[in-house]
């Protein structure tokens, strides 16, 4: 751009003239320290060095490997004593280049053992006002005899193996090193007491229905499971303390589940022996559900379930399930179960959506559960990777939401009279979307939950938000929209950890690992990358890492590699710090280009001076002082009395003509185009650099949104100025007008400055009529009826009084 020889800007509010340069005129204040502290510094030090297993592009490398663990498990439920007895054969295949001397197996049930590491390390205190219930729960928890009881650990031929249990982890010493490509089989016989979920809590357990002496069992972590071995952590054998969930290798499962003969069982995988378990009618219904794409078909009816509830079969039946390429296995069993099913098409293949629930779940569950499962599979398949498992199941479990491959446990129970609140309804739909969504993160895109909660919860909560938006317009979504994370991000920093932190160290778990990453991804999608680039990159990550084990670096790198957007500054700010967004619009200055023509500028300058002179005394004196001395007495007049500085002299005119003659055509055009120059000053109070989004509202009432990428902060992340050249005069400027950056203080986002009312003020100002919506609706209906009735009566009257028409 050619420089302008003499750009002469005048600030309209005063007569002060100044010269400025035509660019972001800000001095760099960085480099206080002698190292690179830039918020845009690349993440070379934070991310691991790429290697043959994981590339710099974020894809699996050419020597990527993962281990395999196949299981054959016989498990039996003892309903009377609430115990599980198991016998498993695990076949472990070493695909790593390393020879292994021992294997690590996870014994998650041991977190419930007396004096377990989980119990000992959970902090606690006594409240002055504890209820009897609270104290009883403390006792129940301490007295529960949980944990795996191991009968034996042997090799495939029954020879005892040497093993060591360290809390929730068990090391099995191998007779000889297991080399690359070799497999080793071992057997474990065990049993454990199942926890009463309603008394002791837990991701699995049973809910007891006292009146009818029945239970719903939701069973998981029910067998010793292989730990993950890879080039990232070696063995991932970090103890299970309660928050950091699970890290598991893929494998094939065959599980034989023996339960009372009148139970209905749901599980990971496909049922292989339905003919000996279900009635002919039930199997026919199941068959017909396989082609029912729009409506669930009830396979076990409420009548059948209620009949089963009334008696207890003394005999047992074994349900056999098989699952391929899954990282875990869960199941549920009860004679209370109603079962419905619906078919879903995913990329031309049919997948089944199932729900199992007791009569207590109706009418809500019959209407929504399976439909929501189907919707979730479709939406997630669109945004991530195709759902290739044969089915997905939603189980009704009061109070909890918890996920396993192809099966999840979800809350949402109506009142005893069958009514339910709006909160129950949307809570249930939300939790089903979330838990079914976990099939993708982490069951298929198999991240390390023990280390990184956000990699499954955050990504899943983000897609949950997209899925809810597609379920219903105006869905009461919680996590996703930027303004919903503001109250968390502006909070006390001592209570906020960065997202990149181990699962057990997270403060404010829900906001940190679910809400903030979901919001961050939503901001990337809507504001920083745009939907097209984001959706492609996000899908690329999902497809690259489907049925593999990704790490944070693989995610960060893929999002950049597939989009050509440098996001290191975003990951650094949003994932590695607990900074927040607070950008302040500090000042707006308005300039117009001076034409330099004295005949144009002098009258403007005069008008401005007169406009400024509006002191009330002066205005009054103009009228009330009839004559001043100089007006009365000619002798008091001299040169200065009559001199008008705004009159254009011949010398000024000649100067101007000379000036104009020197200018080129383009420069002349600039002088006469009448544009408005606005210089805006911003400061970054919160710390996070973000795009600057501005809405200019012009004096003619029209509006325009201008978007500036975050890189405007690249040389100075604390304060910047920026000039905007606009045709029209600006009346108002709003920073972040569409609420897309999670700016925590909106009071500094307006010019002219404006304070936003607090929530308290808004509530106080609101009309708080006592009517609730349903009562209002009833009243409205009654009124409509009344009007209709009146109209009918009137019609009837008119008909009666009407003369009989002649041509009828």
């Amino acid at each position: 751009m050619k420089s302008i020889t003499s750009p002469n800007f005048s600030l309209m509010s005063t007569r002060y003239k100044l010269i400025i340069l035509f660019s972001v005129a800000a001095l760099s204040l960085v480099a206080q320290e002698n190292t690179n502290q830039s918020k845009f510094k690349q993440l070379y030090e934070e991310l691991p060095t790429p290697n043959v297993y994981r590339t710099a592009s974020g894809a699996p490398g050419h020597q990527y490997y993962q281990q395999k663990a196949d299981y054959v498990i016989d498990v039996e439920l003892d309903e009377k004593n609430h115990t599980i007895k198991g016998n498993e054969t695990v076949t472990y295949t070493n695909n790593s280049p390393d020879a292994l001397d021992y294997l690590w197996v996870q014994l998650d049930q041991n977190i419930r053992a007396k004096n377990s590491i989980g119990q000992l390390t959970s902090t606690s205190s006594i409240d002055s006002e504890m209820s009897f219930g609270s104290i009883k729960r403390m006792h129940d928890k301490m007295n529960f005899d949980g944990g795996f009881k191991l009968d034996h650990v042997t090799d495939a031929s029954g020879n005892k193996l040497s093993y060591t249990v360290n809390e929730t982890m068990m090391r099995i010493d191998l007779p000889r090193p297991l080399r690359k490509g070799q497999s080793f089989s071992f057997k474990i016989k065990y049993w454990y007491n199942i926890n009463d979920r309603m008394k002791l809590g837990g991701r699995s357990g049973y809910e007891y229905f006292e009146e009818e002496d029945n239970s719903i069992y939701s069973i998981a972590q029910f067998f010793p499971r292989m730990a993950v071995y890879n080039e990232v952590d070696g063995w991932q054998n970090k103890q299970f303390l309660g928050n950091g969930e699970f890290t598991l290798p893929f494998g094939d499962y065959k599980v034989n589940i023996t339960v009372p003969a009148d139970h209905i069982v749901a599980a990971t995988g496909e049922l292989k022996n339905a003919s000996s378990l279900l009635s002919n009618a039930q199997r026919k219904r199941w068959e017909s559900s396989r082609t029912s794409f729009n409506e669930p078909v009830i396979i076990v009816t409420q009548e059948e379930a209620e009949a089963s509830e009334k008696e207890k079969s003394p005999s047992k039946k074994t349900w056999t399930f098989e699952a391929k390429n899954v990282r875990d296995f869960g199941w549920a069993s009860s004679r209370k179960f109603i079962w419905d099913a619906m078919a879903v098409k995913i990329s031309g293949k049919t997948v089944m959506a199932y729900s199992f629930y007791p009569k207590e779940g109706n009418p809500l569950w019959e209407q929504y559960s399976t439909r929501v499962v189907a919707h979730t599979l479709k939406t997630y398949s669109k945004f991530t990777t195709d759902y290739t498992y044969p089915q997905a199941t939603s189980i009704h479990t009061k109070r909890i939401g918890m996920e396993y491959p192809m099966i999840c446990f979800n809350y949402g129970r109506p009142e005893e009279d069958g009514t339910y609140s709006k909160r129950t309804k949307y809570g249930m739909i939300g939790v089903i979307i979330h838990e079914v969504g976990h099939n993708f993160f982490p069951m298929i895109i198999n991240s390390d939950e023990r280390q990184w909660t956000w990699m499954d919860e955050g990504l899943n909560t983000f897609v949950q938000y997209l899925t809810q938006e597609e379920f219903e317009r105006g869905y009461p979504s919680r996590r996703g929209p930027p303004q919903n994370i503001v109250s968390y991000m502006k909070g006390d920093k001592s209570g906020i950890s960065p997202i990149m932190i181990n699962s057990e160290s997270i403060l404010q778990f829900g906001n940190n690992a679910y809400g903030k990453p979901a919001t961050a991804l939503n901001i990337l999608r809507e504001t920083i990358m745009g939907r097209e680039l984001f959706d492609h990159a996000f899908k690329t990550y999902s497809e690259r890492w489907a049925f593999k084990h990704p790490t944070p670096a693989d995610f960060f790198r893929t999002m950049e590699d597939a989009s050509a957007v440098d996001l290191d500054w975003f990951w650094r700010g949003w994932f590695y710090t607990n900074d927040h967004v607070d950008i302040s619009l500090d000042q707006v200055s308005w300039f117009k280009v001076s034409t330099g023509n004295p005949e144009v500028e002098n009258p403007i300058a005069k008008a401005n001076e007169e406009k400024d002179d509006t002191y009330i005394g002066g205005t009054r004196n103009k009228i009330l002082i009839e004559k001043t001395v100089d007006e009365l007495d000619e002798k008091s007049i001299d040169f200065y009395t009559t001199y008008d500085p705004f009159l254009t002299s011949i010398l000024e005119k000649e100067d101007y003509t000379e000036y104009i003659e020197d200018l080129e055509e383009q420069e002349l055009a600039l002088l006469s185009d009448g544009k408005n120059y606005y210089e805006l000053q911003f400061s970054n109070i919160g710390g996070l650099v973000m795009p600057i989004i501005l809405e200019f509202e012009y004096t003619d009432g029209s509006k325009e949104v201008v978007r500036i990428p975050a890189e405007i902060w690249v040389q100075n992340s604390e304060s910047i100025t920026k000039v905007f050249i606009l045709d029209k005069e600006v009346a108002r400027v709003t920073l972040d007008p569409l609420l897309e950056t999670a700016d925590v203080d909106r009071n500094n986002n307006y010019w002219p400055p404006r304070m936003e009312p607090t929530r308290f003020e808004l509530y106080k100002a609101k009309d708080k009529s006592k009517d609730n919506l349903m009562q209002k609706e009833v009243k409205a209906q009654e009124r409509e009826e009344e009007i209709k009735k009146e109209a009918e009566e009137k019609d009837a009257e008119e008909e009666n009084t009407e003369e009989p028409a002649e041509d009828k």
């Binding site: 959970s122 902090t123 606690s124 006002e129 919680r478 909070g491």
Partner: protein, 168 residues
């Protein structure tokens, strides 16, 4: 007095996708001489806490809400969120409550009137033990907005009382 009990306790109400944080704003409104208090809590946790004390199914925020709900809520917070300007005790005036748009949280509005009686604010003590009697992982965040004094505090089961200086 027996004071050496140490009990390991995880909550009954643990739900793997429900986490326990409340947000309270204490805003001094100079023109009306009020401390305006906005408390944001998860409805489910509030119901659990009140029911733990013997209240029967409250159904907060629904059409069938129990009539005594507002009084129970006010009583609960008067015991569990104690505001002491210059160390002096206060009482709440009930303003109202409303559900959040996402149906997850309840906003509770109460105020402390005639604050001049406490004299020029030099300190503010806050005792916050909201839900700590039922939830061991409870975190309670308080934002203090007294004119130019903006401070943020975090309370937990092990940290229930804090005092800040004002007007420094």
């Amino acid at each position: 007095m027996l004071n050496t009990v140490l009990i390991s306790f995880l909550s009954l109400f643990i739900s793997f996708h429900n986490f326990h944080v409340t947000q309270t704003t204490l805003h001094y409104n100079n023109s009306s001489d009020l401390i305006e208090i906005t408390i944001q809590v998860a409805v489910q946790d509030l119901e659990s806490a009140l029911e733990d004390q013997g209240a029967k199914q409250l159904r907060i925020g629904t059409d069938n809400e129990s009539k005594s709900t507002d009084q129970l809520i006010k009583d609960y917070f008067e015991r569990r969120l104690i505001i002491l300007p210059n160390g002096k005790p206060t009482h709440y005036q009930w303003v109202g409550k409303e559900m959040s748009k996402d149906l997850h949280d309840l906003y509770i509005y109460v105020e402390i009137t005639n604050c001049q009686q406490y004299g020029k604010f030099t300190s503010l003590s806050v005792e916050n033990s909201i839900f700590t009697e039922i939830l061991s992982d409870q975190a309670n965040i308080v934002s203090i907005e007294f004119g130019a004094d903006n401070q943020k505090l975090t309370f937990s089961q092990n940290n229930k009382k804090q005092t800040v200086k004002l007007g420094q």
